[in-house]
Symmetry: C2
Subunit: 362 residues, 2 copies
């Protein structure tokens, strides 16, 4: 199963909205074939492995990180192919919570006298598919907070100059995060100040640009802002208020930008609606890069699932731009925290990562 997991991980960030899955076929104690899911619409991991195994599949054991599908989507059901190839035993990492599968793959195999064991290295198999699992079970994407911060919790210095507060290794790590998330999101204020291109720039290897998402309730940004004009295979989506002038919407659309009007409340765009709309459009993961108002609002709405914070060992001082605005915690019991955080050195900085833990509502 560890080998199957390693196979699955090759697909991370490339299979959306599908999960990443790895499969390994073992016969007489030897690995005879491996495979992983590369991209939605192409064959699943099981099919790659079966093709590679050929006749050796007969009587063999298959290790697969996720329950084989039992429905016809863009590709035929894997459960049928597994049975047809004569696999004798299937070891499953985790059952598929997809309502279209949900145990029917396992049932199908068992009905054909194939031995099935489930829940092997289940935690690890879950961990590689958090975006898929959240998307399929809640109708919302996996939402990740990303920020570079100083020791005193500032995004930037007093003069709010454009650029990174963190070092080169952290910046490279951020580009690797962009590479594996479906979309990247910023507020209009960040675009107005930094005018970022929001693309993936890896020092080694070819990256894939995430969809660029900008929240701009009044469509206040100039049409020549970099996220609208940058050369990139990925597109730019803008969320605005429903009340925005039709003319402004059409101007952006003429640049190839997708515009999504959503409801507003006293705090601006209704964030829950924004993320639900993203999920409906196939986005399973969003890396939110700020600024302070957006981070504060998403935290206040309890929408963040995970955080990757890059802390630089500098003091930005009073008057620097804070990490959060509009989020308050009156005492420890009120405060949002990270659960079992990990600390990873990135150059002179440290990356702080973990799932968000929200306090019980009073």
């Amino acid at each position: 199963m560890r080998l199957a997991l390693r196979e699955a991980k090759k697909g991370i960030g490339r299979t959306s909205p599908n999960p990443c899955v790895g499969a390994v076929i073992v016969k007489n104690g030897e690995v005879v074939a491996k495979g992983y899911h590369k991209k939605a619409g192409t064959p699943h991991a099981e099919i790659h492995a079966l093709r590679s195994a050929g006749s050796a599949a007969s009587g063999a054991t298959m290790y697969v990180t996720l329950e084989p599908c039992n429905h016809t989507g863009k590709t035929p059901p894997c459960s049928h192919a597994v049975a047809a190839a004569g696999i004798a035993r299937v070891i499953v990492g985790m059952e598929d919570p997809n309502p279209l599968v949900d145990g029917t793959g396992v049932t199908y195999l068992r009905e054909r006298n194939i031995e099935v064991v489930t829940g092997v290295l289940e935690d690890e198999c879950r961990a590689i598919n958090r975006p898929f699992l959240k998307h399929i079970t809640t109708g919302l994407p996996w939402i990740v907070m990303k920020a570079g911060i100083s020791l005193d919790g500032k995004l930037n210095y007093q003069q709010g100059e454009s650029g990174w507060i963190t070092g080169a290794t952290s910046v490279e790590t951020v580009h690797r995060l962009r590479n594996i998330h479906d979309a990247i999101m910023v507020g209009h204020h960040t675009v107005a100040i930094d005018n970022p291109s929001l693309t993936t720039r890896l020092t080694r290897g070819k990256g894939r640009d995430p969809i660029r998402i900008i929240l701009d309730s009044a469509l206040s940004l100039a049409p020549d802002a970099r996220p609208f004009t940058v050369e990139s295979p990925a597109s730019t989506w803008v969320f605005c208020a429903e009340t925005v002038e039709e003319k402004k919407v059409r101007q952006l659309q003429s640049l190839g930008v997708r515009v999504f009007p959503v409801s507003c409340d006293a705090n601006g765009l209704v964030l829950h609606q924004v993320f639900r709309c993203l999920a409906e459009n196939g986005v399973t993961s969003v890396l939110v890069e700020g600024g302070a108002a957006l981070h504060g609002a998403i935290l206040r709405e309890r929408l963040y699932d995970y955080a990757n914070l890059f802390l630089a060992p500098v003091f930005a001082g009073e008057g620097g731009i804070p990490l959060l605005s509009g989020y308050f915690a009156s005492c420890k019991e009120d405060a949002v925290s990270l659960q079992t955080p990990t600390y990873t050195r990135t150059g002179d900085d440290v990356m702080i990562s973990g799932c968000l833990h929200y306090p019980a509502k009073k």
Copy 2:
């Protein structure tokens, strides 16, 4: 020399205003004696080792982390004892910058045909004596910033409740820091809010309380505040403005508190004068525990040498008490940073440590 360093470290935090020193005597490739300096006024490391070696010292090699002294202080010169015992070779970690020694120990030994090698593991030998070295060369103590902070750089939540933002392991580590610093310093505001006892409370082993230093320019604190009344072998010192009423001073003195009136400028007590006064009174290291105004002022005055920050994985939110007030950095080139920081996990928190690096003055 590594063994001598290990000996020296046994004295950390106990030898002030003396350095910690370790000595090892080796004869025919075997360690025949070890020793370390335990407390000012008691025998130096070399003497302990020589006594333990007895006649075996004759013709042996001594490894010592710091140049043997050559003057009569509270104890007679070690250089004479080393020569008298017939030591043939002395390996010295670092020369003593104390103007009373400053190479004369080495010279004395060489004049007596003892072979002397200096600068062995010098960086490590320096590192264990940073308070002593700063004190003896500058007339100021080694000044350390200590704070527990949230991910968004706050010392506490909005309601400013008393207590720690960090977890139990960080708190224990702070008590171990208190145990090895000569003094602990807080501002009067911190005393007014937290009313801390400022003592060393270790879960294992017996701690030593540092001198409690409170900056209170107007002597505004109530005489029953805990730092004035706590049962402790260490005393409490208060720095106030020279203009403060004599009556208030005498009231505190009657509680056994030492009161130091110093000059004020527009920002309050002149910090340079405070620290110089501490150094003159034998304090070689100060752990400053805040709050925001004190941290900001010491940073602005470029007086901090080192920082130990304990970061808890929580978001304290807007309205929380900031780490720093009164310190500003308009851009990266203006910002104070930590040089080659270290990150050490303490429970769910991370301890961030490093020497302060100040930007060039414009």
